[in-house]
Symmetry: C4
Subunit: 271 residues, 4 copies
Amino acid sequence: MTLRQKIHEVIFEADTPAGRLFDVVLLWAIALSVAVVCLDSVESYRTQYGDLIRIFEWVFTILFTAEYLLRLYSVTRPAKYALSFFGIVDLLSILPTFLSLFIVNSQYLLVIRILRLMRIFRVLKLARYLGEADTLSRALTASRHKITVFLGAVFGTVVIAGALMHLIEGAESGFTSIPKGIYWAVVTITTVGYGDISPITPLGQFLSSILMICGYGIIAVPTGIVSVELSRAQEHHHIDQRSCHACSREGHDNDAVFCKFCGERIERETS
Amino acid sequence: MTLRQKIHEVIFEADTPAGRLFDVVLLWAIALSVAVVCLDSVESYRTQYGDLIRIFEWVFTILFTAEYLLRLYSVTRPAKYALSFFGIVDLLSILPTFLSLFIVNSQYLLVIRILRLMRIFRVLKLARYLGEADTLSRALTASRHKITVFLGAVFGTVVIAGALMHLIEGAESGFTSIPKGIYWAVVTITTVGYGDISPITPLGQFLSSILMICGYGIIAVPTGIVSVELSRAQEHHHIDQRSCHACSREGHDNDAVFCKFCGERIERETS
Amino acid sequence: MTLRQKIHEVIFEADTPAGRLFDVVLLWAIALSVAVVCLDSVESYRTQYGDLIRIFEWVFTILFTAEYLLRLYSVTRPAKYALSFFGIVDLLSILPTFLSLFIVNSQYLLVIRILRLMRIFRVLKLARYLGEADTLSRALTASRHKITVFLGAVFGTVVIAGALMHLIEGAESGFTSIPKGIYWAVVTITTVGYGDISPITPLGQFLSSILMICGYGIIAVPTGIVSVELSRAQEHHHIDQRSCHACSREGHDNDAVFCKFCGERIERETS
Amino acid sequence: MTLRQKIHEVIFEADTPAGRLFDVVLLWAIALSVAVVCLDSVESYRTQYGDLIRIFEWVFTILFTAEYLLRLYSVTRPAKYALSFFGIVDLLSILPTFLSLFIVNSQYLLVIRILRLMRIFRVLKLARYLGEADTLSRALTASRHKITVFLGAVFGTVVIAGALMHLIEGAESGFTSIPKGIYWAVVTITTVGYGDISPITPLGQFLSSILMICGYGIIAVPTGIVSVELSRAQEHHHIDQRSCHACSREGHDNDAVFCKFCGERIERETS
């Protein structure tokens, strides 16, 4: 095994002790570096521990740069890795520190490192969690058409509600323009309700009440959609794994005795 | 094919290349014109680009007016189109510009053009999306009686809660009248919670807490209703009414060609 | 038919034309009188139309008093009616006007008349709506134990969270006492979020964030409970109506061929 | 029966009249003592009834201390009790009073006594309520992997959203640091929306709108998860594992005595 293969094993795999140790250390380093970026943004910490934070920041950046270069070196097809999701995230998580030499405040973009923490699933019992994420994303994918229709309805509602409220309430209540009105309508229909803009005229309050009660009903729709799809996505785990010996097709019910496509008898799974 | 038939094909159909191109251009024009109306309402843009916005507005209005007249001309029964949902929306989406010559601010009503964007479903894979919208609306229709009972309960609750809070809190906290109290109760029970009116007396805060926890439970009811109905509406797609001629058993999948219980060929429903 | 029987028929039944007319007139009178009470509470209307409102109020009260006395007279067992739910509501909906001669502001209690509007279900296709209300209440009854456990958990959480925040935040942020803290915790966990009291210390904001994300998960529990029970309550509509000829027991599955209690063959429903 | 056994029976069991009476008295004492702690924190009550509250506090503490010692004395393995959940809660619910002699404000920690109220389930029809709590916790346990994935997604979203808003909005709107931005993102995504921090720049309001609509969809995920798991946890109560000896078919109801397919008698599971 060449050095390059060894590095690949340590960095990319989580099954060997060395690989596992590397992953755990990396995750802690990522978490710490995100915490440092967060603390750096707090005025009082920056003035007091500014130098220490700057040192930490550069240590982490140099470590992550070294790791990125080693990944590029050890992988068989560097271009493919560099253009993969994690490859781009790895690059984006070191660039802002170098950029901060030229552009003020760009170091805050370093929180993108949080995405690198998704590697945590590789250390935990990977398959199980990915399976769950898969069930969730399958449920969402299956309901994407319904969600599109739903989002379209929400979009149309907030634009019309925003324009109406701009007309009715005017600038005194904070509805200074239609975009402001749309922002208010989104804040209201999602039941967030900051209260930075709120209707003060009786007519405006009446229309808002109607919008809220509608929003109340609207929240039921995506919940219902996801519930139903999640329930179906989960049932697919229980679907029969048998394939017909004659036509090789799958998707038979559990109580099926004959293939529903060609009429051939199919065997029990356990036999 | 007469000119009138040709115009009809281009304007009303989305299957031919010309019709499709017309639809796509129309959708972009609608989206742009809504964006222009929104920008027009922003003070700073109006003062700076007022003339440009005015020109755009009239160009779009003239285009849409021409389109409306062509639709009226090319359709076989103009009256029926003029009174259909899209016919009225098409008319309403040009009227406010002309009205704005006489009435101040009426141009904001132009956002009604957003409804014309519903034509977008004709360009996308229409049937699928309409099918989803259909499932959603079927679920809502099936549960309209439950939703009426539910809305009645909400209505009664907010009126009584609003009157009680007006009595308890009085004008200092903003509960200046029963309608204001009802507005507050709607804001609270839907969990929007602007905070423009909020209880300050201990008794008022205690009663609000109870109202909130109830509202919390109430939100579960429409969600439950829609979930159940959605789940049922969806099942109806998958039910197959065929029974096997040999063993008379039912419950076959839609794609089944042979009976899964005895292996006999089963006929299509439509044949 | 005596006069008393005739009055009974008109007032209590909704099947005859006279009874139906009476109910519709009554419902409009109730709705109007509630509207008058609401308007009466608005300062500007009271000062301007005070006398008119007062007259309307007394006309409605006299009408409703007459109706109440006629109900008492025409019903066979007056005591039973007087102590029934609607009997008490009918009485409470006239009392406050008389009380307002002695006690200031008590006329606002007249909004209790809104409960009389529940009679509306008698005029609409009664059975259907009552059936739906029945399904809803059956679902809620079936899940009352789960809801008790759930409310207990919410209650414990808000008390502990309220006390903790009172300790951490203190009086500057508005957490002046534990009851205030509990009120804040209820406002937060139900996602209402007025913002009249909100944490300002970093530790307080951190704990609030955790409370919010928990509340986020907690909202899922009652929704899930109601969905499941509603789905079950509805299924009971579809249960097989067959009873066994041998042992007369019901509750068989749709695919049952033999009685599950005594082993006797049971017939298909349609045969 | 020794005195120790008698004390054990009274204190730890709820089946005998004496044990039941003890439990009811204890629960009221706990509820009262929590109420006293809450009142003590209200400024006006403390100045007026300070001495009375102090006396009550010490009476309850002495009572609970005596109860704690008796529990330790009467139980066979004191160490095991002392380290159990309720043993620790019992200790924590008396300690703060003694601590308050030395440390200011520590008496507020006494609200931990609310946890002792969980003993209330022993007095109510225990089994039923614990069964429900069990169903709930089983549903949550079964979906813990999905909830972990979900919380991970929420965590990543709020960190990135918080950092972005800190960059865009800056200190004027209250986004003084990344942790503040994260706090705002949690307040927004959970739809609490205090309004103590809210975006004021157009770009910030646009991004917030997107975050809200996403949060809107995200709320559907845990609801769907819990619904599905709750529905499954409940079904497990009703599933019967018996198969008929004559025709080998399964799927019988729990109360079935004869096979519903062939009429043969089927045995109890436990026999």
